[in-house]
């Protein structure tokens, strides 16, 4: 998550790599409770998220996108 790009930057990097016909075909919000499903997020970082991220933002701290493009 710390290395994730914004959707705009992701699309820009795809364009710069030479991809065309770039489409975002799905967007799914990812919240703190979703992160808890992944063993990669340790209990202490989940606690930090629940403490430091405002409650109203905890349902969407990231967005999982599905992207299609052509070389």
């Amino acid at each position: 998550m710390a290395g994730a790009l914004t959707e705009r930057d992701f699309v820009t990097k795809l364009e710069r790599a030479g991809f065309t016909g770039i489409e975002i075909v799905e967007r799914t919000p990812l919240g703190v409770d979703d992160c808890a499903l992944y063993p990669l997020f340790t209990p202490d970082v989940l606690d930090l998220m629940r403490t430091l991220i405002p409650t109203e933002r905890q349902q969407t701290i990231g967005v999982a996108v599905v992207v299609r493009a052509r070389a």
Binding site: L5, F10, C35, L52, V63, V66
Partner: protein, 196 residues
């Protein structure tokens, strides 16, 4: 030797890779909950339990992927193999599916799960997604699920995808994006958020 911005970036890049490598090597298995959230019961019904419990993706990109029978497909960061196997079931026996991961443990899990699923067209390949060990124009389709955000040099990863794809080849990826509004520094600085 004087430390430059470039060497600092490379050091940071190596550090991030090591964090990701250690975190993924330590993952024994997830729960079924994540796979049940991302995949249909029909998809899970033809999947070995080890691949279900090892699912760590962020979406189901294969739902949107146009996979043709017989195509050569590369799964970038195959993990425990759930997407690799689902893709191989769609390319059919005339296809070729290359499972790329930087962890031998993950390649072993994918190979074992593929054998359990009765899929024999998967080729494990150990390597770095920033330097894909395949020839130019050698792949019809690149898929990836929740992996590109883990790479320190994402532009390099995408350039490598473009290089190995034949002209007109397909890219279908699921990945995590964030809003412009950054998360608190304490969270971003935590090693677990570089791997998760």
């Amino acid at each position: 030797m004087t430390e430059t911005g470039v060497t600092r970036d490379l050091m940071r890049s190596a550090e991030i890779k090591q964090i990701v490598r250690s975190a993924y090597a330590a993952v024994d298995s997830s729960s079924e909950q994540l796979a049940c959230k991302l995949y249909s019961p029909e998809e899970l019904a033809r999947m070995p339990q080890s691949a279900i419990e090892g699912a760590l993706g962020v979406g189901n990109h294969l739902r949107h992927a146009e996979i043709d029978a017989g195509e050569t497909l590369l799964d970038l960061g195959c993990g425990a193999g759930i997407d690799t196997i689902l893709a191989a079931q769609r390319t059919g026996p005339t296809g070729r599916v290359i499972a790329l991961d930087f962890l031998p443990e993950m390649l072993e899990r994918t190979t074992t799960a593929a054998a359990e699923a009765g899929v024999d067209i998967i080729e494990p390949l150990e390597g770095d997604i920033e330097a894909i060990p395949l020839a130019d124009d050698s792949v019809d389709h690149v898929i990836s699920n929740g992996v590109i955000n883990l790479a320190p040099r994402k532009a390099r990863v995408l350039a490598e995808c473009a290089r190995v794809l034949r002209p007109g080849g397909k890219l279908t990826v699921a990945d995590l994006t964030v809003d412009d509004e950054e998360l608190p520094t304490e969270i971003l600085a935590h090693p677990a958020t570089w791997a998760g």
